[in-house]
């Protein structure tokens, strides 16, 4: 049922708060609500962070609990988390959302034109396929008779 667990080395995405949008690794658990967290390669200082603002990712690092930042950084860079993260769909969706919000009026116009052209092409192909299908269907009907 649950596939991602809170464990030492789990990489989490911070969803809100001062470090919103950054990745952190869980270094230790403090109590039921908080974890000691560190993000050496994402600009988050080692600190306590509530679980509520963390969203677990698929990545797990290997280091012992309460390991120094240096070791966390080594593990992070060994696994190449930053690149792997950028390749996930999650990160791409976030980036797309940001780009959409930054669109200027001119960009919106260009997008509209591009979408229109794309849809025309798709429709054209679709119509072609439908035509062929309907022809085949008519042939079959004739053959059956």
């Amino acid at each position: 049922v649950f596939k991602r667990f809170v464990e030492i080395g789990r990489v989490a995405f911070v969803s809100f708060g001062p470090h919103a949008g950054k990745l952190v690794a869980i270094v230790d658990v403090i109590d039921q609500n908080r974890a000691l967290v560190d993000g050496p390669c994402s600009g988050v200082r080692r600190q306590a962070m509530p679980f509520k603002c963390m969203q677990l990712t698929d990545f797990v690092l290997k280091f012992p609990h309460s390991a120094r930042q240096k070791h966390v950084r080594v593990a992070w860079e060994k696994e190449n988390i930053n690149e792997k993260w950028a390749a996930t769909r999650w990160a791409k969706k976030i980036e797309a959302r940001e780009k959409k919000a930054k669109m200027t009026d001119f960009d919106r116009y260009k997008v509209m034109k591009a979408k229109k052209m794309r849809n025309r092409i798709i429709k054209h192909e679709m119509k072609k396929l439908l035509k062929e299908a309907s022809k085949k269907g008519k042939k079959l009907q004739k053959a059956q008779k």
């Binding site: 919000a101 930054k102 669109m103 200027t104 009026d105 001119f106 116009y109 260009k110 034109k113």
Partner: protein
């Protein structure tokens, strides 16, 4: 002693000899200096006995400062000058008619023929109340020459238009260009315009200098000689495009069109209009 005296004499003679021409030069210099600089002021000739109490009385000080030698008159004031240059108060004018005495003495400046019932009270002084022509014109930082603006009011609402310059009254001079979206050289109000971040490079474009507010101002005829029925005919109902407007439009647009063609898709962008639809909120849009 004698040798010393001799030495001194020689020195004295030399000095005297030097002094004489020097004195002459010096005195000349001093005169020149006096003419250039004011003389250095003497310290107070009234020594202080205690704070606020001087040694000498007023009259003693008068003598000590030689005020009897230093009597100045105030420079002739403008009023005195004006008083001297008074024009004559009356004029004799010739009068026609028989047995009339030939001339009359007429006052040049006559008394007013009407006094209002209530005196108008004197207005209090105010400062900083300037007429409209002297107001400070502001321009939003987002609006620079070449910016694409979206007009929000008027018959061209929703159209995207190129900004040229701000006129003297603060209104913005704007053009379609005409060939793209049928907006001519026109004035637009800064407040009723959205400035987009899209800019056309208008670096070397020369805008004719006669395009001012007076050029664009609406003309209204004001000579109703006839009675009411005919007044409305004389006022311009149909606006006619003058040849000068056409030529000015052409002159500006050819320059701008060349620059618009360089940017891909910009021409189509200027042809399109802006509109809101479901889910589009202006405060969330980045222009």
């Amino acid at each position: 002693l004698a040798s010393q005296m001799a030495g001194e004499k020689k020195a004295g003679d030399k000095k005297a000899a030097e002094a004489k021409p020097a004195e002459k030069k010096g005195s000349q210099k001093k005169l020149r200096e006096k003419a250039r600089k004011p003389k250095k002021h003497h310290a107070s000739r009234n020594p202080v006995l205690a704070r606020g109490i001087g040694r000498y009385s007023r009259s003693a000080m008068y003598a000590r400062k030689a005020m009897y030698k230093r009597k100045y008159t105030a420079p002739e004031t403008k009023i005195e000058k004006k008083k001297k240059e008074k024009p004559p108060a009356t004029i004799t004018k010739p009068v026609g008619g028989d047995k009339n005495g030939g001339s009359r003495v007429v006052k040049v400046r006559k008394m007013p023929r009407y006094y209002p019932t209530e005196d108008v009270p004197r207005k209090l002084l105010s400062h900083g109340k300037k007429p409209f022509s002297q107001h400070k014109r502001k321009l939003r930082a987002s609006i620079t020459p070449g910016t694409v603006l979206i007009l929000l009011t008027g018959r061209h609402r929703g159209k995207r238009v190129v900004f040229l310059k701000q006129l003297a009254t603060g209104l913005l001079l704007v053009t379609g260009p005409l060939a793209i979206n049928r907006v001519p050289l026109r004035r637009a109000h800064q407040k009723f315009v959205i400035a987009t971040s899209t800019k056309v490079d208008i670096n070397g474009v020369r805008i004719p200098k006669h395009l001012t507010d007076a050029y664009f101002k609406k003309k209204r005829l004001r000579k109703p000689k006839h009675q009411e029925g005919e007044i409305f005919d004389t006022e311009k109902e149909k606006y006619e495009i003058t040849e000068q407007r056409k030529s000015d439009q052409k002159a500006v647009d050819t320059q701008i069109l060349a620059r618009i063609k360089k940017v891909p898709q910009l021409r189509g962008y200027l042809r399109s209009t802006f509109s809101l639809s479901n889910g589009v909120y202006p405060h969330k849009l980045v222009f």
